[in-house]
Amino acid sequence: MADRVGEVSVDVEGRWYRAIGSRIWALFNSLKLTIFVLISLALVSIIGTVIQQNQPVETYLSEYGERWTRIIFLLRLNDMYHSWWFLLLLTLLVLNVVVCTIERFPPKWKALLKENKGTAKPEIIERLSNKDVFTVDAQPAEVKARLLGIFKKRRYRVRTFEEKDGVSIYAWKGISGRFGADVTHVSLLVILLGAIIGNIYGYNDFRIVYEGGSMSVPQADFQLRLDRFWIDYYDTGQIKQYNSLLTVIEDGKEVFKKHIWVNEPLLYKGIRFYQSSYGMAWDRVKEAQVALKRKDREELDPPVTIKWGELKKIPDSEYSVRIVGYVADFAFDERTKTVFSKSADANNPALKVEVYRGDELVSTPWLFFKYPGLFSTIPDSGDDIVFTAFRPTLFSGISINKDPGTNIVWLGTGIMGLGFILAFFVHHRRVWVSVRDARNSSEIRIGGTVNKDRFTFEREFEELLKEIKATLPATGKGEVGR
């Protein structure tokens, strides 16, 4: 068996690609690479916080000029966290983590399994930085019993070995702390996995939905209806919260309702809906007020409130009015002869109505909120309809987000938490004691070590020694008394 291992290793060294392979392996096994990659990631990440990300090309042109914009796009600095070189750095980190774990975890695991069998040889104790040798006035058996009590009180796990001239004790605790780094490294991989899954299978979208209206959901077989949108205010007038009442509709049936606000999304079938913005519709109103201005009269009649689409009779007159159109910022395209809204803001609100005299449609004028009486609205009568007020239809801006990787990311962060607890707060403490029979007394040789936080352990070790010396009278004291 041993010979065959030798043959294989000769073979490995003989081939050039194996040699390169082992070089690369060694590179990924080095902590210096880790430091290099971490610092590089830190440095290049700064770029993305200085150069705005994912903006249209015009933004970069106006800010940096043509030459720099070219460079920005060439190096993908406009979306650098998804650029090939940033992903390459992340890949290096992943390979580094994987190789380090493969190299370090199995031997550590084996060594720790074996460790329980280790005896407290005096040579081992000699090599430790925390150690002491002293003699006590007691038989090894009694010393052993006392020591086991002390270790038990300190929650050490203990193994004892009877030997021909005494006894050896090995005590340890916090062995799981050894695996903190490994657990943390695995958690990092899990988080990255979740991020990758989210990038591949997830999507982001944005919809606006009018009160009373419905919206379709991408890649899903259900719809959402906005029942109500409203804003809560503080007493001071500052905005407290934006709210939407949403109903999930599946196969034409209402499934359930949910009140969402800025911190409270709706989750349905793995898709989340967030309150993201709101606004006034530019192409419709909830209701409007119009007033009749009679021929040869200065004052208007009392205004009448009309709902969108409703036909309403104006009291004490032969007219009825129906709202059929609205634009927030009226404009007219000469070429196509169509009305459009220049912006979404109510800069020049205009209402299109149908005016009936009795049952006969007499005109369909545009009424201007800001310019009453600009055009005659009812031909050949001298009467006029004036647009006096309106209640806008509100819409709610809903962000849609599907990210099946999210739960994997949370799982990863949970593992990371566990890893941190093990890595930073659980220390692997080991204490070896060798008790040798020295006629009526015992010689105690004790040594301890810890894998991190030596400073605290030094104090613990001193306290341990103090306690041992207090419970077991030292021979020196007896001599003084004599």
Binding site: L31, K32, T34, I35, L38, I39, L41, A42, S45, I46, G48, T49, V50, Q53, Y81, A195, N204, Y234, T236, Q238, I239, K240, Q241, Y242, W261, V262, N263, E264, P265, R272, Y274, S276, S399, N401, D403, T406, V409, W410, T413, M416, G417, F420, I421, F424, D453, R454, F455
Partner: protein, 295 residues
């Protein structure tokens, strides 16, 4: 508003006095000066606690919703962290360095424009409360004191910042001490520093607290962002800088166990890390626009 500002003025004075006594202790090494310094640190802590309490009473929410309030939280946690360390390890000279940081923090807070100091109701995005806590507090009519992921996020992040601040002070002491040690120059003031080995170890211990707390802060922020912005990570400048800081401290932790990188280089990384914290905290808030526009 008035009460919390009054306590702020007191605290500022207390921290100045505390720092002066720690420095005097360092210069003259008199036991009684050290005892006064420590007592002053406790008084300053009490006063800072009162700022936070009165502030919470005035605003009706956990007192960490803007830059001013979070700075006080930072000063408060740093002070607690330092006092725990002094109590455990009994090296008062470190107090001079930590308290100078505290005074600088308090002074810069007092220089903030008024709009940062005023009590503001929470804007829509900042209202996140744990439902289980709300339902727990509701029967006793205290649901308005419920906290949520956001408060948790701010608190854990600032435990991280405070730990990094302490380790920054210790790393500077380490660099001074190790330079004198390696050059063999004797200086009575530097000799009063703890051993460079101890400074290194304590600096590590501090980061060993800060690093996981910053991670918890980032993750709880991500949970909040996932509920508010619709994504757990958006590469917002604040998020990115927190990750940069985290990378630097991760590099520190790996450097410490690497031959040729432990000691001085690790100490430099700890200092760079804290400079990142300062930029993450103040720089990003004032220079880089982003979603994280609260503090």
């Amino acid at each position: 508003m008035i009460l919390s500002l009054l306590f702020f003025t007191f605290s500022l004075a207390f921290y100045c006095i505390t720092a002066v006594f720690y420095i005097l202790y360092w210069l003259f090494k008199k036991r009684w000066i050290g005892q006064i310094a420590t007592s002053m640190a406790y008084i300053a802590l009490l006063s800072t606690t009162m700022i936070l309490i009165t502030r919470a009473g005035e605003s009706g929410h956990a007192p960490f919703s803007n830059l001013y309030e979070s700075m006080i939280l930072f000063v408060w946690i740093t002070n607690i962290g330092y006092l725990i360390m002094e109590h455990k390890y009994r090296y008062r000279v470190m107090g001079a360095f930590v308290m100078i940081i505290e005074v600088i923090a308090m002074l810069s807070t007092s220089l903030l424009p008024y709009r940062f100091k005023s009590v503001e109701p929470l804007n829509p995005a900042l209202q996140s409360k744990w439902k289980w806590l709300v339902s727990l507090l509701e029967p006793v009519g205290m649901e308005k004191y419920a906290i949520g992921w956001l408060d948790f996020h701010v608190f854990t992040t600032f435990v991280g910042y405070a730990a990094f601040a302490i380790s920054f002070g210790l790393s500077i002491m380490y660099l001074i001490k190790s330079r004198y040690e390696s050059d063999g120059i004797r200086n009575i003031l530097v000799e009063r520093f703890p051993d460079s080995r101890i400074l290194d170890e304590l600096s590590y211990k501090s980061i060993a607290w800060g690093f996981p707390f910053l991670a918890v802060g980032i993750v709880s922020g991500a949970i909040w962002a996932n509920n508010t912005w619709g994504a757990y990570w958006s590469w917002d400048p604040k998020e990115t800088w927190s990750l940069i800081t985290w990378f630097v401290y991760a590099a520190y932790l790996h450097a410490r166990i690497t031959r040729g990188w432990s000691g001085k280089r690790a100490a430099y990384l700890s200092i760079v890390g804290f400079l990142c914290v300062i930029f993450l905290y103040w720089g990003v808030s004032f220079i880089l626009p982003g979603l994280h526009a609260y503090a």
